[in-house]
């Protein structure tokens, strides 16, 4: 570089250094000034008694840093020579860009070097003579420095204030100061005894008044409770007041003194207190005053409701019209005001009400049947949902509790089929292979000694591919309700089958009930797999047919357009026509690919044949065109257009017929649901009338009611005990485990019969439960003699309890038989029996209709038929009981019938939703009205994928039990309590 240019460069660098120096000074001044101002305000606020938010101070500090940062950017750019050259050019307009030219040409030589050198010499002198301050004046930096100094000075003056800058941070770090504690009352105290406290709880708690005699005076109650105090003093006083210390300030309470030294007063438990709250009497008399001892007031705080959702995944992808299907539970100490779903999408939050109970109720549960659409969500939305419950605390104000968060991604109506289609196809194909093996080798050979472990190992391997797919594609809440239900069913049946096989004896033949149970389990397993295959297949086929039909329509339209565009083929337009033929062929290839999803079904064959034919026709047209036979080519193009139109129309026609058929099925389902709803309402009304009759004519029936309650209690105890037995017998396996399972089944059957108030069935169940318990006890005795079993003592101790419960129930049932209904009640029941009989006939008819509908459904909806059959049987039992004048059995039958109808309706509802989401049920709609949110939808079939590991994932039963135990251990957050509970249930099942 030449000397002039070097000097210019050097001078520009000097200018840059000056700018950087000034910028540094300015930034520091701004930082100091802002910080000083902030701290000045904070110290002043503190001295005035305000606790300025720490956040405010922090914001100031951040502002200062930000300003500094912003200036730093300029600092960096100040080092650029070209920037300084621009400034110089601005200060010396006469340079007319020559300085910049010199710089640019020095960096990238171009043109005449001599000219550039001459130019450099020309600009050097003015540049060097230009004062630096003319380019970067110091005034702004100096002003900033002066301002910062002033603020700093002001801040230093605050050292003169009571709370100086030195204690500023310490003051913020200290927690809020509590008011100084009350000075303890010293001196002798008056003796008070015979204290009786009567609690009058706030209305919202729903608690009855409670009296506590011989109290030590301490009060335990929720805020707002009025406590009436009765006591007696050792000596007589002339007057007294009741003082409440630590609560809100107020007048002392009046005290009524009796001639017998009795004392009566009352106090109200305060809503909030800063520290300990005590109460005492202050007596007056004899020219002085004396205090009673201090008694504590302990607040039983009404906590916020506990809310849990039973979602096995906290993330789900679902269709806009698909019900959430998540079970929820809420518990509160005193009552729940309302339950809502809180929806948060981006920065907006809103709530949708789920339940608002009228009565005081402390526990609520149900299932979220709202759809994303009903939550005001749109396809494409992602939202965070929480169940939120408010308690009914009227005294200190209603408090909310929240469940864990479920993140939901919403897809279009019917689900994002295109996304799910490959996964469903993959799953279907994997399940087909599973099915093939189980059809040909369904269970261990029953006529040879069973080697369950070997068979089980072999059979488990059949699920490898399926498990891998489920783990890969379906574990994160994928799919819709129908997918999850089908997979859950397969899981359940598979688990039952393998559990039975593993529990079978290692040697010896299976016989009797064991054999029947195994055969039934394998059949149910195959049916579940078949159902899942058919469901996924139907979804795949429906989607594929829709796509093929769309493409066929597109192809037909394009072919018609092509024909219109080319009325005649000539040498000139042949190339363009060929391009159009290519375009058609591309659509045809796409169509063939879509048709491949239809497999070798006849529709698939038809489509493939048609596609092959059209391909040949296109090739023929192309050939004719290439050979110059343009008339033939035109003829062929006409044929292609006609063929494609007919093909498209044929498919469209078939789709239309499918839709019509679905429409008809949907209407039938809707009609059935309406009839079931009416039947349910009629049955409920008749049950009410039966109950009224019992209340009116049968006060003597209270005994029967009490006996049934007692029976139910014993049955529940028997079930609980049998769960303990099953859990204890699980690790031992074999006959011990199977015996425990049988005993548990019997006990559960007994409880069902008791709940249904079915005396006959309960008697029979109690007898078999007792027998089973006796037999099992004997078995345990033999096992103990073998000395090979460990852990049996606990089981051995529990089994007799089950037997005792069953025998007690038998005794109670005998008492119940003697508790005849009064004649008036019997007459009233017999009058009502005619109506019950009519309901029973309707239920029978609907049961047949339900069977017909179920047969047409791809998913069969087993609950529909089962529920309808239960309704039919139970309405008949109720009618019979009413004719016999047995009110309890009648009521039990009526209730069980209603439950059956509800089950059928739930299944119908779910089937309608599945049909709709599959796209084949556009007309199917929803069967009947929406069930109320939080209704008693007890099924657990739609809980998403298993969160609990399957037993077959473990080498041994013991390993599985250990895994379950591990899952149960320790405290779990509220939102995972339900999962923890299922670990327990699963453990009990093992």
């Amino acid at each position: 570089m030449s000397a002039p240019r070097h000097q210019i460069q050097h001078h520009l660098l000097r200018i840059a250094r000056r700018e950087r120096t000034l910028l540094t000074l300015e930034s520091l001044s701004v930082f100091i000034g802002v910080m000083s101002a902030g701290m000045l305000v904070a110290v002043l606020a503190l001295n005035l008694g305000y606790r300025a938010p720490v956040g405010g101070l922090m914001a100031l500090a951040l502002s200062a840093v930000a300003i500094g940062g912003w200036r730093f950017r300029d600092f960096r750019r100040a080092g650029e020579v070209r920037r300084q050259a621009l400034r110089v050019e601005a200060a010396l307009p006469l340079l007319a860009g020559e300085l910049l030219t010199v710089l640019d040409r020095s960096a990238r030589p171009l043109g005449s070097e001599v000219l550039v050198e001459r130019m450099a010499r020309r600009v050097l002198a003015p540049v060097q003579t230009l004062p630096l301050r003319a380019v970067h004046p110091a005034r702004p930096a100096v002003l900033a420095l002066v301002l910062a100094a002033c603020l700093g000075l002001l801040f230093s003056l605050t050292a003169l204030l009571p709370i100086g800058p030195g204690s500023l941070l310490a003051a913020y770090q200290q927690p809020a100061q509590s008011p100084p504690p009350l000075a303890p009352v010293v001196g002798p105290r008056a003796v008070v005894g015979d204290i009786t406290l009567r609690y009058l709880y706030p209305v919202y708690t729903g608690l009855a008044p409670m009296e506590v005699p011989n109290s030590n005076g301490d009060v335990h109650a929720p805020p707002g409770t009025t406590v009436e105090v009765r006591a007696r003093s050792q000596v007589a006083w002339t007057s007294a007041v009741l003082e409440l210390e630590g609560g809100p300030e107020g007048e002392p309470g009046a005290v009524e003194l009796g001639p017998d030294r009795s004392i009566r007063s009352s106090l109200t438990v305060p809503v909030a207190a800063a520290g300990d709250v005590v109460w005492r009497f202050r007596f007056q008399g004899g020219g002085g005053s004396m205090l009673s001892p201090d008694y504590r007031v302990i607040l039983d705080a009404d906590l916020a409701p506990q809310v849990a959702v039973d979602a096995r995944q906290n993330r789900a992808s679902m269709a806009v019209n698909e019900p959430l299907g998540v079970p929820w539970r809420v518990h509160d100490d005193y009552g729940i005001r309302k339950v809502v779903i809180e929806v948060r999408r981006r920065d907006k939050t809103w709530e949708v009400e789920v339940r608002a109970p009228i009565n005081v109720i402390t526990d609520l549960d149900g299932r979220l049947l709202l759809t994303p659409e009903e939550l005001n969500l749109q396809p494409g939305d992602s939202a965070r949902l929480r169940v939120k419950a408010w308690d009914n605390d009227d005294v200190s104000g209603s408090k909310p509790g929240w469940s864990g968060v479920i993140e939901v991604t919403v897809s279009g109506a019917g689900g994002d089929h295109s996304r799910l289609l490959p996964a469903r196809k993959e799953l279907r194909d994997a399940l087909v292979l599973v099915l093939a093996d189980f059809l040909l080798d369904p269970e261990p050979a029953l006529d040879v000694p069973l080697d369950g472990a070997a068979w089980s190992k072999r059979a488990l391997g059949r699920y490898d591919d399926y498990d891998s797919i489920v783990g890969r594609s379906w574990a994160a809440g994928q799919g819709m309700q129908a997918d999850r239900t089908a997979l859950q069913e397969v899981e359940d049946r598979r688990r039952t089958l393998f559990a039975l096989v593993r529990a079978a004896p290692a040697a010896g033949l299976l016989a009797g009930l064991e054999r029947d149970a195994l055969v039934a389990a394998q059949r149910a397993h195959v049916v579940a797999v078949e159902g899942a295959v058919l469901l996924f297949d139907q979804m795949v086929q429906t989607a594929a047919l829709k796509r093929v039909s769309e493409l066929a329509q597109q192809m037909a339209d394009e072919a018609a357009e092509m024909n219109a565009d080319f009325p005649v083929i000539t040498e000139e337009n042949a190339a363009a026509a060929l391009a159009r033929l290519d375009q058609l062929e591309r659509v045809l290839r796409e169509l063939s690919a879509a048709a491949a999803q239809l497999g070798q079904s006849s529709l698939g064959e038809f489509t493939n044949q048609a596609a092959d034919r059209m391909k040949d026709m296109l090739a023929e047209a192309r050939k004719a065109m290439q050979e110059g036979r343009f008339d033939d080519a035109k003829t062929q193009m006409d044929r292609i257009a006609e063929e494609m139109r007919q093909f498209a129309d044929g498919l469209a026609d078939q789709q239309k017929r499918g839709e019509e058929s679905s429409q008809a099925l949907g209407n039938e389902m809707k009609e059935l649901d309406q009839k079931l709803e009416v039947l349910q309402a009629d049955q409920a009304a008749l049950r009410d009338r039966t109950e009224q009759a019992r209340e009116k004519h049968g006060p003597g029936m209270d005994e029967a009611v009490a006996i049934w309650k007692e029976i139910e209690g014993h049955a529940q105890s028997a079930v609980a005990a049998s769960a303990v037995v099953t859990a204890g017998a699980g690790p031992i396996g074999g006959a011990i485990f199977r015996g425990a399972n049988d005993l548990k089944s019997e006990a559960e059957g007994l409880l069902d019969a008791a709940r249904a108030r079915n005396a006959e069935l309960a008697r029979s169940r109690a007898e078999t439960t007792a027998q089973e318990a006796r037999g099992y006890s004997r078995m345990l005795g033999w096992a103990a003699q073998d000395g090979q079993r460990s852990g049996l003592p606990e089981v051995s101790r529990t089994v007799p309890a089950i037997q005792a419960h069953a025998e007690k129930i038998q005794t109670l049932l005998e008492r119940l038989a003697r508790a005849q209904a009064p004649p008036e009640l019997q007459q009233a029941l017999q009058k009502l029996s005619a109506e019950q009989q009519k309901i029973s006939e309707r239920a029978q008819e609907l049961s047949k209709q339900a069977e017909g509908v179920a047969q047409q459904l791809p998913m069969k909806a087993p609950g529909l038929q089962k529920g309808a059959e239960q309704a039919s049987a139970e309405t008949a039992r109720a009618a019979d009981a009413m004719r016999r004048g047995d009110p309890m059995s009648a009521a039990g039958g009526q209730q069980a019938a209603e439950d059956g109808i509800q089950e059928a309706r739930d299944a119908l509802q779910q089937a309608a939703e599945t049909l709709q989401s599959m796209g084949e049920g556009e007309g199917a709609g929803k069967a009947g009205e929406e069930p109320s949110e939080g209704g008693q939808h007890s099924g657990d079939q739609n809980l998403g994928m298993m969160a609990i590991p399957a037993p077959e994932e473990f080498e041994t039963d013991r390993a599985y039990r250990e895994a379950l135990m591990e899952g149960m251990q320790g405290e779990v957050p509220e939102q995972y309590r339900s999962t923890n509970l299922r670990y327990y249930e699963e453990l009990v099942r093992q």
Binding site: R428, D429, V432, L433, L435, A436, D437, L439, L440, E530, V533, L534, D537, G599, Q600, S601, S602, L603, F606, Q609, D612, R613, M614, D616, M617, E620, A624, E627, G628, R629, D632, T635, Q636, R639, I640, E642, E643, Q646, D649, G650, L651, D653, Q654, R657, Q855, Q856, L857, P858
Partner: protein, 530 residues
């Protein structure tokens, strides 16, 4: 080729004589009578010189419509009325317009006195057989019924159900529910191409059937009630291809057998005025079986021209049942009916329960068109599972599922039988596969796939003669399967029947290319001029 209606046409040309009586040029009333009696030659003669008045133009329009001149028909009918036509005329205009749209793109081909209109394309494979069938029907059936109407016969082959529905004037819903695929109306035979049905149908017998209606209407002056028309048509429809009456379809045999044993035959009175008023499709099917066997019994006991004699009496105004009784039992209707039922009892009727083959118009899954599986979703589910297993090459497991789809009280449905046979074949059990197919064909002879599957299995075993027969049976029901036509071409070529082989090869090419290939350039000339 024998000229079908030469005598009548000649008579018409010479002096306008026709069976309905003499017709004079310009006689409108006579012309209208002739049209009603399906005597187009007579009507044509009467039409000469007409057209001056709206009514005459209406008559000419109707004549043109009967003669397949649809453009003329619409033009003339419009010319017969003012801007606000009466409702009947408007209905006519609508029908003519719809027909014109339905035959858009059609071409016409005449051989002798038979004119066939069709859409060029794959329906070309029907042409030869259409002419052959009608010729045979005229030669073999016409004389038994009193002779064909003069003026030729016109056939239209509609490629789609939609076009057929538009041209038939029947509501689409009725066509779908009743399964009507062909019609004899307006002196024309309207036929739906078998390709418009999911699995084809016995279209040649149907064509003969409609031709018989045409002849019966002419020979009875359209006085024959539906039951008699159907009785004659159903019993005679196969006589174009065989000498004796055919057995009833197995399904109808089973209905008849049950009705005979339980005494629940449908009385003739209940068939008046139309069988369509019978309460169920099953009862209607039974009624058709009854009248078909009644006519067959009549012919067997009194001679092959029994139907002609009955029609003559009906034409003269005799009640149809009385006419049958006069011909069959000297006027004693009771004796005739007793004789008929006794004769029925001598027949070996199929007594097992069978499902009716549904007529499904439009494309469809074979399960949806199966007589049993279409209504038994539970069984169809097992079939689908079997299909998936078969596709996965798990034939043994597929058989387990297929077996679940066999109902307890009746044989496997035809679609299922084909699948069972395929599964057995894939497991190497050809003999069992053939057994299953043969049994199914006896019960469901109109199922083309059973014939095709059996033919393939027989061909594989080298039983070429029977294989050819089965392929032909399949092609008779569904001529649009190029694989079947190809197999037939191969078999004919192997047996030395070159003309037939060439024909089948041509059909295959038509089917694969969507129409006739362009004619080859004359031999000796270069394909393209350089």
């Amino acid at each position: 080729m024998k000229n079908l209606f030469a005598s009548s046409v000649l008579a018409a040309l010479l002096g306008g004589f026709g069976p309905a009586g003499q017709a004079w040029a310009g006689d409108l009333a006579r012309g209208e009578v002739c049209i009603a009696a399906a005597d187009l030659a007579c009507a044509r003669a009467a039409a000469v010189g007409l057209g001056g008045t709206p009514r005459e133009r209406g008559f000419l329009a109707e004549l043109a419509f009967h003669e397949q001149r649809f453009d003329d028909a619409l033009r003339l009918l419009k010319a017969s009325t003012g801007p606000a036509p009466e409702s009947s005329t408007q209905n006519g205009i609508d029908l003519y317009k719809a027909t014109l749209e339905a035959v858009a793109g059609f071409v016409s081909e005449t051989r002798g006195d038979v004119t066939v209109m069709y859409l060029p394309g794959t329906d070309e494979v029907l042409l030869d057989d259409t002419f052959t069938t009608l010729q045979a029907a005229h030669d073999r059936i016409g004389p038994r019924l009193g002779g064909a109407p003069p003026g030729g016969v016109r056939v239209e082959i509609y490629p789609t159900a939609a076009r057929f529905i538009a041209a038939s004037g029947i509501p689409a819903e009725s066509v779908r529910t009743t399964g009507v695929v062909a019609l004899s109306k307006w002196s024309r035979l309207l036929l739906t191409s078998p390709r418009a049905l999911a699995r084809g149908y016995a279209w040649k017998d149907t064509l003969a059937h409609e031709y018989i209606h045409y002849v019966v209407a002419y020979n009875s002056a359209d006085n024959a009630p539906v039951w008699l028309q159907e009785g004659i048509a159903r019993s005679h429809e196969v006589l174009w291809r065989r000498d004796d009456f055919a057995e009833l379809p197995a399904y109808q045999q089973s209905l008849l057998a049950e009705a005979l044993s339980t005494g629940t035959l449908v009385p003739l009175e209940r068939m008046h005025p139309s069988m369509a008023f019978l309460p169920s499709a099953e009862l209607a099917s039974l009624a058709f079986a009854q009248v078909a066997t009644m006519v067959e019994f009549l012919a067997n006991t009194t001679g092959s021209d029994a139907a002609r004699r009955v029609l003559l009496k009906v034409k003269d105004g005799t009640d149809a049942l009385a006419a049958v009784a006069e011909v069959g039992a000297n006027g004693d209707a009771g004796a005739f009916m007793t004789g008929w039922t006794n004769w029925l009892k001598t027949l070996r009727l199929v007594s097992r329960k069978l499902a009716a083959m549904p007529t499904v118009i439009g494309e469809g899954d074979d399960l949806a068109t199966d007589p049993l599986l279409a209504t038994r979703q539970d069984l169809a589910g097992f079939v689908r599972l079997g299909d998936l297993l078969f596709e996965a090459k798990r034939s043994s497991a597929a058989l387990v599922e297929y077996q679940k789809a066999v109902p307890e009280d009746e044989p496997a449905s035809p679609a299922l039988a084909v699948r069972l046979a395929r599964a057995h074949r894939s497991l190497g059990d050809d003999a069992r596969a053939i057994l299953i197919l043969r049994a199914s064909i006896i019960d469901y002879p109109e199922y083309a796939n059973s014939h095709k599957e059996l033919a393939q299995q027989l061909q594989r075993r080298g039983v070429t003669g029977e294989a050819t027969t089965e392929y032909l049976s399949s092609a008779d029901i569904n001529p649009f399967d190029p694989d079947v036509q190809s197999a037939l071409a191969t078999l004919y070529a192997a047996s030395g029947n070159a003309p037939e082989a060439a024909r089948r090869r041509r059909y295959e090419r038509i089917l694969r290319l969507g129409g006739s290939p362009p004619p080859a350039p004359p031999a000796g000339l270069p394909e393209q001029i350089p």
